[in-house]
């Protein structure tokens, strides 16, 4: 709730289409805590967004985020490319407040060498195309254009403004001001100046000072002002898109330059004087028409202010998108991450819910849906509780029917959910802490999950648990087909042997049965001894190793942090070193044996 801007990074200029990868050696315990993952286990940010498969999906996410934090600007980062103007137009129509056009020259700290040299395009091309397209479409005045990608000087700022951008991102140069020496080892945790490392010893070498950055930016501004004065502009706004004052340098006689045609960059669309050439009109997000503002907020006003429990029932239709999110946002604003006591606000919805039902809701909110739901149920769930089941009067078998659409609980970080029925594809992708029970899922379930628990009381689609690096999934495999659906790259699939885990699973299913009256859950509980062996426990290998190590240290009497730190340090030793230590120990044991042998 403190963010001024929320950015959807569709791509990055320096490594378009490659995503990110935080190696295990950089996931120190305090990083794992923030990221909702396990110390020492790598974090993969895949290039695709699993909740965005179309421009409509992007518009939906923009709307979701605007609901989650109405005060923050929502921006979309695109990479400079041919045709980026068309995408930017979609972004503008999707009601983003800002579109960022990123060039290929920036952020090369940990980018693969192949990308540094051979991918991406200059921001100049992307900014020019975006500005021109938005002008022609009459969209330019309601979205801000930002650009980045190795902007280093005031001259860059002025050029970007003249090509059509009104905001400018700097990173490499301020980093250098802070002491970065461009080692390109950001991914190795060995940054010798303490900038891009979590290693406490190396961080001591950090010499940066915010004042220096401020000073550097003053110089940038000064240079920009000088150029503006030379060009005769009084404000930045009157400069935006004035590419008529730019001209091609004719004296460059390099043979590669002779065929370069810059006319497309310097083209100025002819539009009427009524068309704004920079952002002047706010996007209309339509939040005041939402179910939250119309009904839920008035109902829960007192509960939010005083914490007094409240209950409410109403009907819901598929035009009601993002139900509960503004309500949740108000709670988070007041109470922070901890939210309200469990079940303070209990809302019952009847009908067919629109997209993103219960997205981002925090603790204290319980949303029961009697009916079914569209895509994105419980997206980014942050501690709230979501229960969905068909009407008791329905005649079909809940366990065989779809109750929720695709991409449910995407990026959930906490809370619980119980779905009496099947969910669609990409269920619980990137879940980092929520406990979820469902009676069947489509393809790509639990992909890139880093924490939490998922119980599937039925069939899964293919590619289950791909890229999963944390948390545990329990899958009921009655037909014995699960092995063919599982992506085994990072995970193990095995029987449940641990008693505590068995108890946890039983309790989750029991709660599910209580909340949803699920027949299937009840059948499982009734025949527990027989059903238990049919559950498969899916757990990432690295996660299991780290968890065992941490528990090992805890049982030796270390506190949570110390245990995690020791386990982390142990995991960073190479296999060789671990082997050497083991041998040393064995050698030692051998000696002892011999002494006793004599």
């Amino acid at each position: 709730m403190n963010a001024d801007e929320i950015q959807i990074k569709v791509s990055q200029g320096a490594k378009p289409g490659e995503g990110g990868h935080l190696p295990g050696k950089k996931v120190y315990p305090w990083i794992a805590e923030v990221r909702g993952s396990t110390p020492g286990v790598e974090l993969i940010s895949p290039p695709p967004h699993h909740d965005i498969y179309s421009i409509e999906d992007l518009a939906e996410l923009i709307h979701n985020l605007k609901n989650a934090n109405p005060e923050a600007r929502v921006s979309v980062k695109l990479v400079s490319a041919v045709g980026v103007g068309t995408i930017a137009a979609g972004v503008a129509k999707g009601r983003a407040d800002l579109v960022l056009i990123s060039g290929y020259d920036g952020g090369t700290g940990a980018a693969p060498r192949t990308s540094i040299k051979h991918a991406g395009m200059p921001w100049e091309i992307g900014v020019a195309e975006t500005h021109q397209t938005l002008l022609l479409d009459g969209l330019r005045d309601r979205i801000t254009i930002e650009t980045d990608g190795k902007l280093m000087t005031g001259r860059d700022v002025v050029t970007a403004a003249l090509l059509g951008a009104e905001e400018y991102g700097f990173s490499t140069a301020p980093l250098v001001v802070l002491g970065c020496i461009m080692m390109r080892v950001c991914h190795l945790d060995t940054c010798p100046v303490g900038v891009a490392t979590q290693n406490p010893e190396l961080r001591k070498k950090f010499i940066g000072d915010a004042e220096d950055v401020a000073n550097f930016m003053r110089f940038i501004a000064e240079e920009a002002r000088e150029l503006m004065a030379e060009l005769g502009f009084r404000t930045m706004n009157e400069m935006i898109g004035r590419n008529d004052v730019l001209e091609r340098k004719e004296e460059i006689d390099h043979w590669k330059a002779k065929d370069v045609d810059l006319s497309a960059l310097l083209y100025r669309p002819e539009v009427g004087s009524n068309v704004g050439h920079y952002a002047q009109v706010e996007q209309d997000h339509g939040l005041e028409k939402s179910l939250d503002v119309q009904e839920l907020l008035p109902l829960c006003k007192e509960a939010i202010e005083t914490g007094k429990p409240v209950e409410g029932t109403g009907s819901i239709r598929n035009i009601h998108r993002v139900a509960g999110t503004i309500l949740g946002s108000e709670i988070s604003k007041k109470y922070g991450e901890k939210g309200l006591p469990e079940d303070t606000i209990r809302l019952k919805f009847k009908g067919s819910a629109g997209q993103s039902f219960g997205a981002f809701v925090p603790r204290g909110v319980t949303m029961r849906l009697i009916g079914d739901a569209n895509d994105y149920v419980g997206k980014g769930l942050s501690g709230g509780k979501i229960i969905a089941h068909p009407s008791p009067r329905s005649t079909f078998k809940a366990e065989e029917n779809i109750i929720a659409g695709n991409v449910c609980f995407y990026g959930a970080s906490g809370g619980e959910a119980y779905l009496n029925g099947k969910a669609g594809e990409r269920f619980a992708v990137r879940n980092s802490g929520a406990k979820l029970v469902v009676e069947g899922v489509g393809d790509h379930g639990c992909e890139y999950m880093t924490g939490g628990r998922v119980v599937v009381l039925g069939e899964t689609g293919r590619n289950f648990a791909a890229g999963m690096s944390g948390g545990i999934a329990y899958v009921l495999d009655e037909q014995e087909v699960f092995a063919s659906k599982l992506n085994k790259e990072l995970v193990l699939s095995e029987a449940i042997t641990d008693e505590a885990e068995e108890r946890e699973l039983y309790e989750l299913i029991e709660t599910h049965a209580n909340y949803t009256q699920s027949d299937k859950a009840q059948r499982i509980l009734d025949n527990w001894e027989e059903m238990l062996p049919r559950f498969k426990r899916v757990i990432p290998v690295a996660f299991l190793e780290m968890r065992d190590r941490i528990e090992g240290f805890r049982s030796e009497g270390f506190d949570k942090f110390e245990s995690e730190m020791r386990a982390f340090e142990l995991s960073q030793k190479s296999e060789e070193e671990q082997l050497a230590e083991q041998e040393k120990e064995e050698e030692h044991n051998g000696e002892v044996d011999r002494v006793y042998g004599v």
Binding site: M182, M183, V185, T190, V193, N199, E201, L202, K205
Partner: protein, 495 residues
């Protein structure tokens, strides 16, 4: 490149040295070999910098930053760390014809510019380089590689110091027929007669020269061009002449009593010492001995250090070194001497270590200016009169030294050695050949063509740039050879 965590695991360790009290008793190398394991660790400290500054030699604030021969330092550090010594040797020769000379006697501007040096001790680059090349010679990996074809062009190189040797090596490898003329009786220029035996022994120089001879370079000693052989003959007989005569004009100190007995230029002292040592193990007595004398070395540079170490081996009675500058700080002053400039810091070199070990004190006196020498009735120097000075700058920014009243001092001295540098090349040959010079009396030749005002006559090394480092001489030798080769063979037009 090394090991990514090497710099966090290992400490810098330079090449080990012999006990100073012991080593002053002989003229053998004052260092000890570095073990392979240690060299590998030192190589492992290299950080695979995204922007390495060690291998990009530039002049910065009057000093050298980074390696002037653009040595592939991160590459061979990595190869050493991985134990691939032969590959490392190959890499070390790619940019430097004589890594053994620089591995021994270079002040290592690479280490001053090493990125690790920003906040830690830099990588021991020079020690690793020396280990590589010594291993190469030990294992017989460095062998003569004569050119496969000859161009038929003849090139004369005047001077066999590091610049001359580099030019000769490069030109010979390009297939030209090269003759090197040296006016002294031994080859190597200052490598041989300037740097004493315990630091850079003649065997090391000769080892390389023998290889070059095998590769087809002809060396002529006792051949002073302009005296023994007329320069016109050289120009007539060759397609190109490259002048690498060095900057041998001593800087003098023009004060009362300069001509007294016992006041010598450092080079005369060092030259005679090495010659007598190599000729007869000092049996012939043809050298200036410091034995039993109160020695004063004027000048705080490397030559001064060499004079100290040589005097120590002569068993001098006392030893003092004058440095015109104030004592430098132990660590670089980031405000005026930031990384990656060559660090201006207080150093204790091998000579001072030896003097301190034997006499118990560092021999240096700082901010000392010599006012006059006073002799006895036989014209032999007996005293040096000095005053302390303070460095100041006038309104135009020119530096001058102001004497501090009351700091006058008289020092007892039997032997005074002037190690205060050189002013430029000797002018005799230059004048005879009619070659233009710069304001500083150096031979005028630009950095693109290295050609003098006379066609086909080139210049490189100290003779062109003024007194400098071995490594700059190698840089100039390589560049001049390239320019000379292009002059002889033409340049292939890019397609």
């Amino acid at each position: 490149m090394g090991k990514s965590t090497g710099f966090m695991e290992y400490e810098r360790q330079g090449r080990p040295e012999r006990d100073p009290q012991e080593r002053v008793k002989d003229w053998n190398d004052y260092t000890l070999p570095m073990s392979d394991e240690e060299a590998q660790k030192q190589g492992a400290r290299c950080m695979d910098c995204g922007v390495p500054t060690c291998h990009t030699g530039t002049e910065m604030a009057g000093g050298t930053s980074g390696c002037p021969v653009y040595h592939y330092i991160p590459d061979w550090n990595d190869l050493v760390y991985r134990g691939q010594w032969k590959e490392a040797l190959f890499k070390a020769h790619e940019q430097n014809n004589f890594p053994e000379f620089t591995g021994i006697a270079c002040p290592a501007p690479c280490e001053g510019a090493c990125v690790l040096g920003l906040n830690e001790n830099p990588v021991a680059i020079r020690s690793v380089e020396r280990s590589i090349v010594e291993k190469g010679f030990e294992n017989g990996w460095i062998v003569a590689e004569p050119p496969k074809t000859r161009t038929g062009k003849k090139v004369a190189v005047v001077g066999s110091g590091p610049a001359g040797l580099t030019v000769a090596d490069q030109m010979n490898k390009a297939g030209h027929t090269v003759t090197v003329y040296e006016r002294d009786d031994r080859l190597g220029g200052l490598l041989t007669y300037g740097i004493p035996e315990m630091k850079l022994s003649y065997d090391v120089v000769l080892r390389r020269i023998r290889l070059m001879e095998e590769e087809g370079v002809t060396f002529v000693t006792n051949a002073n061009i302009g005296k023994d052989i007329p320069s016109s003959q050289l120009e007539e007989e060759n397609d190109a002449v490259v002048l690498c005569g060095g900057a041998a004009n001593h800087r003098n100190i023009d004060v009362e009593g300069r001509n007294l007995e016992g006041v010598h230029f450092a080079m005369d002292f060092l030259h005679a010492n090495t010659k007598s040592l190599l000729d007869s193990e000092h049996e012939d007595g043809q050298y200036i001995s410091a034995e039993g004398k109160d020695v004063i070395v004027i000048g705080g540079g490397d030559t001064g250090t060499d004079c100290i170490a040589t005097s120590m081996r002569h068993n001098c009675k006392t030893l003092t070194q004058f440095d015109i500058y104030d004592k430098k700080p132990a660590e670089r002053d980031e405000a005026v001497n930031p990384w990656p400039q060559y660090p201006v810091i207080h150093r204790i070199e091998y000579g001072q270590k030896e003097a301190e070990a034997v006499f118990g004190d560092d021999p240096r006196a700082y901010a000392v200016q010599t006012k006059k020498f006073v002799g006895d009735e036989n014209g032999q120097v007996k005293e040096v009169h000095t005053v302390n000075v303070k460095l100041k700058f006038d309104e135009q920014g020119n530096k001058y030294r102001e004497e501090i009243p009351g700091t006058e001092k008289v020092w007892k001295a039997d032997l005074v050695l002037l190690a205060i540098g050189f002013t430029g090349p000797e002018q005799q040959l230059i004048e005879e050949m009619g070659i233009e010079t710069t304001k500083r009396t150096n031979v005028k030749a630009d950095l693109n063509t290295y050609q003098t005002n006379k066609e086909g006559v080139f210049a490189a090394g100290d003779m062109r740039r003024g007194q400098s480092l071995i490594v700059w001489a190698i840089n100039e030798g390589r560049a001049a050879a390239k320019a000379c080769d292009e002059y002889l063979m033409g340049v292939a037009e890019p397609v």
